[in-house]
C-alpha cells in the first residue's frame, strides 16, 4: 500500500462523520457493530434493489471438471507418446517418426497445454509432498513424475527423445550442432546434478520452485511471460542451434535422474541394427557426444598406475562428501536470500535497529523516512504476525535451510566424486555404443550406419558404395 497523502486523515474523518451521521441507523449501534465485527458502514435496506450474491460455485465446478478431464487426457498422451517414441527408437528405428512425434508433443504438451503439467517440474511437487504433510500432490502430477522414470528403466530416455516438450523444441532447433569437447561436456554435465540438488533442497524447505521459475521455454509455450525469461529462453534456443539441447544436457534436473536410470535400462536404442562393423561412420553423427568408440587396449605397464588412481579417488570420496556438507551448511545465508520469510525478518530487524538508533540519537528525526518503508514492511505491519512470531518462523526456516544446505553440499561432493571415479574406470568396448546416460534416443545415428542403409534401403545405390567402403576399412 502506498503512503497516503498528508491531507488524507481530515478527509477520511469528514467522510466517516458524514456517512455515520446521515445513515439512519442509530448511532451507538453502528459504532458498536463496527468495532466488533461488521464493516464500518452498514448495509442499507433497499426498497426494490436486490443485493447480488457472490457465488462462484457454478462456474467453479464447470471449470475444474473440464480441466481435470483435460489432465487425464494429457496423462494418456504421455503414455501413448512414450510408447510410440520407444517403438520408433528401438523397434522401427525411424528418425522421421521421432521427429514427427516431437512436433506433435511440442504442439500438445508445449503450446496447447502451455508447458504445465511437466515431468521436470513435478520433481518439486513430489519433493514438497514428501517433505511437507500439508501439501497433497495431485495424482496426475505424481503420474507425470513416475511414468517417464519407469519407461526409462525399460527403454532408455525415449521420453526425452520426442515426448518432453522442452526436449522437442530443442531437438527441432538443433540445426548446426558442433561437437562439444569431452572435458567440457563432462564438466558442464555436472551442473544438471547440482541443479537437481538445489531444486530439491529449495522445494523440500518450501522456499521456491526453482525449476519452474527458471524454465527457459515455458514463456514461449505460453506466448507471454516475463521479458527476462523470454530473452533467457531465446538465448537458449539460439545456443541450441549450435550446441544441441543445451538445457537437456547441462541443466535439466529430470534428465539427470533419467540418465542414472537409463544406465540400467532393460532395453536401449542400438546404433547398428545388426552387428557393428566398426566402420566409424557414426562417430561424428551424435550432436550430444553420446557415442562411445571402441576402447584401445591399455598397455600393461599403465595398469598399476590406473589402479592407484582409482584407489586414491575412492579414498577422496568421503572427504569430498564431508567437505561439501560443511560448505553447504555455511551456504545458509545465500540460500536464505531466496526465502521470503527470512528476507522479511531481516528487513524487519534492520528496520527495528534503525528505529532504535534514531530513538537514541535525539538530535535526529525520530520518524523513519517515508520512502524507506517498502511494500513488504508495510504489508507486514498491516497484516503480518507479531515480530516475535516472524523471527521464530524465520529462525525455523533458517534451520531447515542449513540442514538442506548440508545435504545439498554432500550431494554435490558425491556427484563430483562419482564423476571422477567414473572417468577413471575403463570399460572394454569392442564396438560403437550409445552412452546410455547421455543418449536421448534421438535416432540421428541410424542414418549414418551402413547396415541401416542396407536394411532400410535409404541409399539407392548402396551396394557398390558400401562394399568399397568396407573393403577400404
Amino acid at each position: 500500500m502506498r503512503r497516503l497523502p498528508r491531507n488524507f486523515i481530515p478527509i477520511l474523518a469528514v467522510i466517516c462523520v458524514a456517512a455515520c451521521a446521515v445513515v439512519f441507523v442509530d448511532f451507538g449501534g453502528t459504532v458498536a457493530s463496527a468495532s466488533a465485527e461488521g464493516p464500518p458502514i452498514p448495509l442499507p435496506e433497499f426498497t426494490e434493489y436486490k443485493i447480488p450474491d457472490n457465488d462462484f460455485s457454478e462456474q467453479i465446478t464447470k471449470e475444474t471438471g473440464s480441466s481435470l478431464k483435460r489432465e487425464y487426457l494429457d496423462l494418456g498422451a504421455l503414455v501413448v507418446g512414450i510408447l510410440l517414441a520407444s517403438l520408433f527408437a528401438l523397434v522401427i528405428r525411424s528418425r522421421r517418426g521421432l521427429l514427427l512425434l516431437a512436433v506433435v508433443s511440442l504442439a500438445w504438451l508445449g503450446f496447447w497445454r502451455e508447458g504445465c503439467v511437466c515431468a521436470i517440474g513435478a520433481i518439486q511437487n513430489v519433493t514438497l509432498a514428501v517433505a511437507n504433510p500439508d501439501y497433497a500432490i495431485p495424482a496426475v502430477v505424481l503420474a507425470f513424475f513416475t511414468i517417464p522414470l519407469i519407461s526409462t528403466l525399460l527403454f532408455g530416455r525415449t521420453f526425452c527423445a520426442a515426448v518432453c516438450p522442452l526436449g522437442a523444441i530443442q531437438e527441432l532447433v538443433a540445426l548446426r550442432p558442433v561437437k562439444v569437447p569431452k572435458w567440457l561436456d563432462h564438466a558442464l554435465g555436472l551442473f544438471a546434478y547440482v541443479y537437481l540438488g538445489l531444486a530439491v533442497a529449495l522445494a523440500a524447505t518450501g522456499t521456491a520452485f526453482l525449476i519452474c521459475r527458471y524454465d527457459p521455454f515455458v514463456a514461449f509455450f505460453r506466448r507471454t511471460g516475463d521479458t527476462n525469461m523470454l530473452i533467457f529462453g531465446g538465448c537458449f534456443l539460439l545456443l541450441g542451434v549450435f550446441v544441441a539441447r543445451p538445457y537437456c544436457r547441462y541443466l535439466c534436473p529430470y534428465g539427470a535422474l533419467l540418465g542414472i536410470l537409463s544406465k540400467l535400462s532393460w532395453r536401449h536404442l542400438k546404433i547398428p541394427p545388426t552387428d557393428c562393423i566398426n566402420c566409424r561412420l557414426c562417430e561424428d553423427s551424435c550432436p550430444y557426444g553420446a557415442i562411445d568408440e571402441p576402447t584401445v587396449d591399455q598397455s600393461l605397464d599403465k595398469r598399476p598406475q590406473a589402479r592407484r588412481r582409482l584407489v586414491c579417488l575412492l579414498l577422496l570420496l568421503p572427504p569430498l562428501i564431508g567437505g561439501g556438507a560443511l560448505l553447504g551448511i555455511m551456504c545458509e545465508k545465500p540460500l536464505g536470500q531466496l526465502d521470503p520469510t527470512i528476507c522479511l525478518a531481516e528487513e524487519v530487524r534492520a528496520d527495528i535497529a534503525k528505529q532504535e538508533a534514531a530513538a537514541d540519537d535525539t538530535t535526529a528525526d525520530v520518524d523513519v523516512p517515508e520512502e524507506e518503508i517498502t511494500d513488504t514492511l508495510d504489508a507486514f505491519r498491516t497484516t503480518g504476525p507479531t515480530v516475535e512470531k516472524l523471527f521464530e518462523q524465520a529462525a525455523e526456516k533458517s534451520n531447515m535451510l542449513r540442514t538442506a544446505g548440508g545435504w545439498l553440499g554432500a550431494w554435490i561432493g558425491l556427484v563430483l566424486g562419482i564423476k571422477l571415479i567414473h572417468l577413471s574406470i575403463r570399460r572394454k568396448r569392442t564396438d560403437y555404443q550409445p552412452v546410455r546416460a547421455n543418449c536421448v534416443s534421438c535416432g540421428r545415428c541410424f542414418w549414418y550406419c551402413p547396415n541401416e542403409t542396407d536394411i532400410q534401403r535409404l541409399v539407392p545405390i548402396q551396394t557398390a558404395d558400401t562394399n568399397t567402403t568396407r573393403e577400404e576399412q
Binding site: M1, I11, F24, I60, A136, I150, F209, C212
Partner: protein, 207 residues
C-alpha cells in the same frame, strides 16, 4: 570362456539388483509422496490445487497487475456486495482529493474505468450507489481495493480461474510482499474475507 561367462553373470546380477532398487525407489517415493499423512481416499481429484489471494492479508500493493505471467493479469477486483455500504462518496471509486461527485473519467480512481457506479435510490436524503466491476476492463491493479479498504473493504482482489493458467510456481506469489497467495483446493478456489464469511455465516475456513 567360463571365466568371462562368470563375469558377465555377475555384471548382469548387479544390474538387476540396481534395477530392482530403482523400481523400489521410484515406487517408494511415489507412495510416500502420495500417502504420507493422507488417506488413500484423499489421493484423487481433491488434491488439485489453485492459487488464490487471501483478501485478509492482501495490501493491494499492485504487484498482481505486473507480475502475473499473463499479459493481462489473472487477478481481478471483486465486489462483495453484502459488505458494501453503497456510499455516495466511495473511496474505492473516487480519489481521496480533487474530485467531483460524478462519474466523469477525471474523477475516477480506476485507471481503466472498470468500476461502474450505478444509482440505486435515494432514502432519507441519502443517495445510494451500486459499484460493480466491469471485469474485461479490470487490470487487477488494486487501486479500488486500496481505496475501499479505508472504509468497508468490500472490494477485494481474487485470482480468476477462468484466466489463471495455474503455474506450478505462481509468479505473483513469489512477488507478493504480504505472502498473501497460497494454494487452495481446486473445488473451492475463491477466498472471502473473514468479515464476509461471518456475514454469510460460513464460519472459519481452513487457516
Amino acid at each position: 570362456m567360463a571365466n568371462s561367462q562368470d563375469k558377465f553373470d555377475r555384471r548382469a546380477f548387479v544390474a538387476n539388483v540396481a534395477r530392482c532398487a530403482s523400481v523400489l525407489g521410484i515406487g517408494g517415493t511415489a507412495a510416500w509422496a502420495a500417502l504420507k499423512d493422507h488417506t488413500p481416499e484423499s489421493l484423487r481429484e481433491s488434491n488439485e490445487t489453485r492459487w488464490q489471494i487471501d483478501p485478509d492479508k492482501c495490501t493491494a500493493c499492485g504487484n498482481c497487475e505486473t507480475h502475473c505471467v499473463l499479459d493481462l493479469s489473472a487477478v481481478k477486483a471483486m465486489q462483495f456486495f453484502k459488505m458494501c455500504g453503497y456510499c455516495d462518496v466511495c473511496t474505492g471509486y473516487f480519489p481521496t482529493s480533487g474530485y467531483e461527485l460524478d462519474s466523469g473519467a477525471e474523477n475516477e480512481l480506476c485507471p481503466t474505468g472498470a468500476v461502474i457506479r450505478n444509482h440505486i435510490e435515494n432514502k432519507a436524503g441519502v443517495r445510494y450507489f451500486e459499484y460493480t466491476i466491469d471485469e474485461p476492463r479490470c487490470v487487477g491493479c488494486g487501486k479500488c481495493v486500496e481505496g475501499c479498504a479505508l472504509m468497508n473493504g468490500s472490494l477485494y482482489l481474487q485470482i480468476r480461474h477462468d484466466r489463471c493458467v495455474n503455474c506450478n510456481e505462481c509468479a505473483i506469489e513469489a512477488a507478493c510482499p504480504a505472502q498473501a497467495i497460497r494454494r487452495v483446493p481446486a473445488d473451492d478456489p475463491y477466498l472471502l474475507k473473514k468479515t464476509a464469511r461471518d456475514i454469510l455465516g460460513k464460519g472459519s475456513e481452513d487457516a
